[in-house]
Subunit: 352 residues, 4 copies
């Protein structure tokens, strides 16, 4: 704490999985200094009583969420809270000059009506919300660089959109044929004591949930529509898989030109992600595994074409808590500060 | 062994996972008697040295595969061998009067040309193969009852077809929109020492394989075409999931009539499976979990309709080694013998 | 419900893991009929809303715990409740003529002072408690046969005592050298939403808990002392392992006679468990695996002697929810009813 | 490759789990440069075909093991090979001036007779072997600093010895009462295709192996005897646990002075490990979890005393592939080069 020249940052919602990832990443980052750990239910507790494995590294106490205090001590604030809370805090933090990166859904929608419809939260911060940038650097790098407020997408939209974007941007597929069959490790459910997330229940089991009505659907559609230039509906189905970390998105779509082959698409994807150091396009015939991305901010993408059905199948995998959450927020901050996009973020997974 | 009135059965390929399931099911079956355990690489070994947990229950030795011996001692023979071997044994066993249930791909195809194309095995038993019945009782119950030779489908086709069949039979979907995104536990890979099936590699990882070219595709399409009355191509993508047992098939298709709602489909499925005691249709809004079917011969099916996209999403789950393999073979045998279809098969899972 | 000649039983505490095992076992038992499902927090809910996989098998509703109703409708009552509740219900149920099998700690102690010291519950049912029998059939078969009230031991004491008993009974070891290093799957923690039992926390992790002060210690010591004829203290250390089911107890003790070899001990154990059909002594050099016992009421025991250190190492494994909980209760009931000890209980595991 | 001022290192046996850890750690180390990847069965293959997730980071090919080439290009050589091979290579590499760190058992024994007895390999390099230092920095830091040849201990001895050493060094326990009950993730079995390491077999199962005769026993005893000043025998029992990474050692021993309490021991351990930055002693009443150490070079130690039995119970956990293998080798090299012991090694785990 207090290293000269480092930027003081606050993590609000420090006791959740997003929080502990942020704490870890901030500690490993050469330009950041952890200046404030804030929480609600965990306020007053030592961080090391919540995460004992860090007792020798983090000796801070989780403080109550006092926006004035936070703004005084931090230049940058990460909000890692349940939906509907960030929108009550961000305006004040921004006014006091903080850069704000929100990990909830609050600042991901350009149309707050859609947000209110899906999240059942009335909003009064329309003006602020309009200044927010969607924090997916591979699509909105330039806008993020100039933003004060970033709404970072979560793990499902990140994997889904990195898989779909080149296809939509280049008009290669019939948009309404897009189906995203997504699989997630259980840590996406957060550090919440829910029966269905118990090892005894979730181990050796796999199931789908929120079929045809998951709240990430409108968020994915918003970006797809932006890329396509017209409104796009997608089919999105999330599944819970017996593993801790990782998202695997299998994306299906019908090609406009059935003559396209795998190598064509690899070329197009390579070009699309040429300036995106965190996206790794796999060689022809290689498909990703969630374990490869685990513990890194990487997204691996594999591509297949089925000439029999004229469909493209794109597979994308990320670590749901890094590129799908906290790592993405740091990546955005790197851009906002004018630093190298890869600064301080893990790029080598431990394997196995 | 030798219980009066019980039917003597042989299990050839006893050392694999299919074999040990069959041994267990035969031992629990009130009308069957385990008369022959046959194997190739494991011949001469005590069965209990291969599966020590059964040392107190099975004191038989795995014998070399001697077809004369087998036919002398068995009325029924289960062949649980790699593809391309059953077709060399079944003709002789049938000739000697045995009923034969094959768990490999050898007798699943009515057109051996398709088999040879996908499995690279030349066949000389065309005449015998024409007498084989596809062993999915929910679709071909009557024909199985009268068969001497049954080619039992594996786990992917079973789950996929139980999910798709009512839609195709009733002409409710546009067939070429059908996409099957299937997830399997690693025991489907068999008891083979492969690096990618090691716990260290497969745990906490998920990936797709054989995308756009898995050998179960033509088998699924054969039945779909039979049900539809015209040739159908489907998209089939298998994934390996870090769990021991279970198949989860998520099936997507576009409805011909976008006005159909979930309850309509539940009604249609209920009618379709009215006489199928092993298929359990879940109530509206409930989706299956692989764990529910684990250790049983059940198939759970859940249905959802997305009115936004006019798609139906059907989810089917089975235990890959029971309803997807050995249990199905016993179910077929029950029919061939004129017994109750549920006789001797497990219907209550242990949970959790 | 209501099968002629079947004994009507009630399961109180039906929504927990003990409850659902009991329901399943009762349904599979040829002499039992499920007459009452009772619960507290889950009263009024359909059982199938708590365990949806049983919707087609169990159509009963969980009723409030009304002792008069229960005694009217049931001859036998299983109490599967948190510690401290059974002792408030059993007296009345016994008075009305029910046989009672308690799965909590309430009736496991002959000295209620020890119970009160470790469980912090004052007791007023001393007279009733004195009639209770410790429900480990392998040690107290005869007394269980004549009991009206049985206090069934849980999974740790069962595995530990089955491993240790022959050594203590025959005076083969120096009792105070006994160390039990026990490993348990997470389902032993019950269907409780606790953070430390989440898959995300417990998967890929292993730890010890309640070291030197676990409440099963005095219970194990009570039986060890009974067998030895003098007071014995043991070292007992439980560990939580990333798996759903299973207990593995590794027991260390110093032999009085360092000349004893493995085969001597196998002979002694074989004699000790000659009339115990659920205990399977493994051949020389074979050690048990928890998976072998999973889904059965079996206990597998392996024995090793280290001539270098004069220690015996005994390894015992059971399914924590069957032989370690619900299966044991049914086994006790079989004895209480004069039935075959194995009646209706699963003896063949699914493997893998 | 070829960064100015970096030390060129070779990894021989690059395709195993030890190899890929070393590759990853070398790439993250600020002073090292990966100059040679050597292998036997994998020679000629691109490293990225063996570990596809590193395709974008490592573009080297695994070369045949040519000692002259290796010595020409490397200042430091890590040998990560099966037992019995390093002793054939190390002499020549040392003669050519390389520093050699061996991860096998070949250079862990001061008495080659013990090695030959347990490993069945005749040795002709007695003279070289005598110069080898046992690579456990917490015990032999000074000697490692001056060594040219280090025999790095594996995961079981590392966890066991870090737990036991202060007790033996200070004479606090009766040495012959020491029992080590050790639990390991399956990656300790290496990247070998063995049936018992398959996910289908190992998942949801736990068992002991090599009871009373594991080859790490004499290695542990050698160091214990060195610390005690007289010959010590220990009981060591390894168990395989369904998780990828991690060792958990539960160590039991009888205290010479039964009046010692937990806090006394914490004080003694703190003093013993004062200069050991990778050992983290947990606060009173906190016990370690394997997940805490995962992905780091840390060893967490928790201590408990049972006043009833006069025993101390010490729990130590490490990542078996880092502090228990490759990380330890890098830690040793840091000392050999005069660098900070923590240089380039991971100290913050990802959690969960």
């Amino acid at each position: 704490m207090g290293d000269v020249g480092r930027i003081p940052v606050g993590v609000i919602g420090a006791s959740g999985y997003g929080g502990v990832q942020l704490v870890r990443l901030v500690m490993d980052h050469p330009q950041l200094d952890l200046a404030y750990l804030g929480g609600d239910s965990s306020a007053g507790r030592d961080f090391s009583s919540v995460y004992p494995h860090l007792f020798h590294q983090v000796n801070q106490t989780i403080e109550p969420i006092d926006l004035t205090q936070i703004a005084d001590r931090c230049d940058v604030v990460f909000l890692s809270l349940p939906n509907g809370l960030a929108c009550k805090m961000a305006p004040q933090l921004l006014e006091k000059g903080c850069k704000v990166l929100d990990l909830s859904a609050d600042y991901r929608f350009s149309d707050l009506g859609i947000y209110t419809y899906w999240y059942q939260v009335e909003r009064t911060d329309q003006e602020i919300a309009e200044t927010a940038v969607y924090g997916l650097p591979e699509l909105y790098r330039d806008r993020i660089s100039e933003a004060q407020l970033v709404g970072c997408p979560g793990s499902y939209p990140t994997a889904s959109l990195l898989a779909l974007s080149p296809l939509l941007k280049q008009g290669l597929i019939i948009p309404e044929t897009a189906i995203i069959d997504a699989k997630s490790g259980t840590s996406s459910g957060g550090r919440q004591a829910k029966v269905e997330l118990l090892l005894a229940e979730a181990e050796n089991s796999l199931g789908a949930y929120s079929v045809a009505r998951h709240r990430h659907t409108p968020e994915i559609e918003q970006v797809c529509s932006d890329l396509s230039g017209h409104e796009v509906l997608v089919q999105f189905t999330p599944h819970l898989v017996p593993m801790v970390r990782g998202i695997f998105a299998t994306v299906y779509a019908t090609l406009r030109d059935p003559g396209l082959v795998r190598e064509d698409l690899l070329t197009i994807y390579s070009a699309f992600y040429r300036s995106s150091p965190w996206v790794k396009l796999l060689p022809s015939g290689v498909y990703p595994q969630t374990k490869w991305a685990s513990g890194t901010n990487l997204c691996y993408i594999g591509i297949e074409v089925d000439p029999r059905t004229a469909r493209v199948i794109v597979m994308a995998t990320i670590d749901n808590l890094l590129k799908g959450q906290a790592g993405q927020a740091i990546q955005c901050l790197n851009l906002m500060m004018g630093w190298d996009e890869m600064l301080g973020l893990p790029r080598l997974s431990f394997y196995p």
